[in-house]
Symmetry: C2
Subunit: 428 residues, 2 copies
């Protein structure tokens, strides 16, 4: 058998160790599938003093030396973030190395450019691990589903938020406590912004949209709202109407050449397949014009599942090296037209704290009526201190109309506080 | 742009028309993804008098002329069955044509040989549509999940049976009525054997097992039991204990180099993701050593979803033609070691019609005890005519022990009839 394929790995954290262990555990089968062995020849790290599972001779703090090393065939980038990952990946490609990366931010922001660069040099740039951890999503979208016009995609793509929302629901915990639990369990970082404010999801849904629609979605055009304002009260009302609250990334095709991409909590009907995706699991639900509804689910993060995705990419890159066929990716252009959320129509959940006195409900209804927003469901109850709670589910209305109505409702003297607003996925 | 890729299609039934319509509807996007156009140049059919959506000049009844035509690049085989499909596919490969097929029986029985033949001639042989209709299954197993040792797979892979079982459950219909409904709705054929006796599922699960474990599973070694004996009574008992009854294909890794592959109805715990796969939907649930649990679901049959899978394969084959990289599949050998079901351990559901008299229950329990089979749950009721019904859920026991115990129970004078036996997937 010819010489092993030499890997240079950048970063050796959670995903790196998972990938390394998978190679060690399943080496024989992996070698057979590629037709050649894989050798993790060099690993670039920041802190040389940390304990590692491997011999020190593999490690270097000089990451640049890896991406320029003529003996390295494939660079596996697992640092995350833009700086210095973007430069290193670009240099790796310029130096003729295939790249496998798990870096969602990098691909969301620079995917089009880097895929073009790879293609121009007949190299592979694979990034299955960037979205949905171990769940095959990117490549099925690129290949098996490629004949479809995608009409809609909706995904639970952030395990941390889903863990928190599941905890809140199952243990009647409030957001702060559930977040603490997630941090204690190692599912959330000390600064949870990336996860709970939907930033992570916005990268991932952008990547999926870019592949499905063939142009890169500018991340700054993705509407984004996180889960910090979700209360157990909202989860309870949702349940009473047969819904679960999930943080979702949504892509809707708008006409022939535009999309709307958004990240926000949604009330998902209990019988929708996404409603039963709990804890750290991720899932993508997709509707294509020919395939109809398809769903993929599994572990969206963690050392082993993400390592599994990196290894799947490495096997593909390896097969291409052995059999020919590197650089066969179809590049996508930049500049996808993204329409703002204003024109999207949804149903809405609205929870108001009101002053408990005559005409309150009438005044609110009048405002809704002015904006042609009709009410589908309502619940009302008395709170202490002469206050009340009114909760509405509306029929479908545009974001714009609803936002305008909400502003007027908020200004009503009878309304003490807008306590919760959540978009609602309609039941079938 | 260079010359179109010329397709010769064998068969123009449900899947052929779906594939054709998809090409017409989404031609621009498909052409862009391949980098060259697709031309369905010739279509081989049996009956030249049937009305067709296309100009007559495309059609020929001389199928052989298609697979030997030097101007054809890719043969799409949609006839099904072995004869004459096997010969035609082989001739197509020998004549240097790539092949896309939806033929599960062909791949289950001759996959290893044909993939080797394709590989030896640097050709692609793709068959995503053979399993799970539009759901990406084959390629994700071959690629993104390829680094995993698969521990277990369980799939609902036959839409007809799942439609029938769902009807039975939702409308309290018996098997015969649900079958008639399925036939009227076009989901079941006049002779439903292939579907309801698990033959179709046995081909599909064999193919998945062959890919996951790298050797072709001899179909004759797949244990197979259909759904004809499932009664609404069984479905009701299953529900009372929190289970659904589904026809599943199951693959278990046995040690390092063997598998057990089986097809039979199973009681699936209500919270298992497969339990909510209803109607004509299909799904595959998989557990890999690194990826953990993954599930794929969607429409497992029909013109459009299966056409979507054929088109996905065509796009891949086309990209390889344009970009280089044809024939990169990893062939798998024949002769997977398949162990018989006897040593598999399951829990069992057993429904007995008994004579209503003293000691009946005691005698049955004694037999179970002799074979070390312990009872987890039991329900008992009186039937007319001095009969009774006893229903058991056992703890895990080997097929062999259970079968022996069952034979003795059946011979007890007090037992009038073994009315139902179903394997049970344990709750987590």
């Amino acid at each position: 058998m010819s010489q092993d394929i030499r890997i240079g790995m950048l970063g050796f954290g959670t995903v790196g160790t998972g990938t390394y262990r998978m190679l060690v555990d399943n080496r024989e089968a992996i070698t057979k599938k590629i037709g050649r062995g894989i050798d993790i020849a060099k690993i670039g790290i920041r802190d040389p003093k940390k304990e590692r599972a491997l011999d020190q001779s593999h490690f270097t703090t000089d990451l640049e030396s890896i991406v320029t090393d003529p003996s390295i065939d494939v660079v596996v980038e697992l640092i995350g973030g833009i700086d210095p990952a973007a430069d290193l990946v670009e240099k790796a490609l310029l130096n003729g190395k295939h790249v496998v990366t798990a870096n969602k931010e990098l691909i969301a922001k620079h995917g089009s450019r880097l895929v073009h660069l790879a293609k121009s040099k007949n190299l592979d740039l694979h990034y299955e691990a960037a979205v949905g951890g171990g769940i095959p999503l990117i490549q099925p979208l690129k290949h098996q589903l490629a004949g479809n016009d995608v009409i809609r995609m909706m995904g639970i793509l952030n395990g941390t938020s889903n863990y928190i929302l599941t905890k809140m629901e199952q243990e009647q915990a409030d957001f702060a406590d559930a977040l603490k639990e997630a941090q204690a369990a190692g599912y959330a970082e000390a600064d949870p912004t990336n996860d709970v404010d939907g930033i992570d999801t916005s990268y991932k849904i952008s990547i999926l949209a870019s592949i499905a629609f063939g142009k890169q979605v500018p991340v700054e055009n993705v509407f984004r709202e996180g889960i910090r304002n979700i209360g157990i009260t909202d989860i309870e009302y949702a349940r009473s109407w047969g819904y679960k609250i999930k943080l979702v990334g949504v892509v809707d095709a708008i006409g022939k050449d535009a999309v709307c991409v958004r990240v926000h909590p949604s009330m998902i009907p209990g019988d929708h397949p996404l409603a039963s995706v709990n804890g750290v699991y991720n899932a993508l639900w997709l509707h294509g014009d020919f395939v109809g509804d398809v769903m993929f689910s599994g572990r969206g993060a963690g050392s082993d599942p993400t390592g599994s995705a990196v290894m799947g990419d490495l096997i593909d890159v390896g097969r291409n090296i052995v059999g020919g066929g590197s650089g066969s990716a179809i590049p996508y252009e930049a500049g996808m037209k993204v329409v703002p959320i204003d024109d999207v129509h949804s149903s809405f959940y609205l929870r108001l704290r009101v002053k408990d006195r005559p005409k309150t409900l009438g005044q609110i209804s009048m405002v809704f009526g002015e904006y042609a927003i009709s009410i589908a469901e309502m619940q009302m109850k008395t709170l202490p201190d002469n206050l009340g709670e009114i909760v509405f589910l509306t029929h479908r209305a545009s974001e714009r109309s609803f936002a305008q109505a909400l502003r007027e409702v908020e200004n009503l003297e009878a309304v003490d506080q807008v306590a919760g607003v959540i978009r609602v996925e309609d039941k079938q």
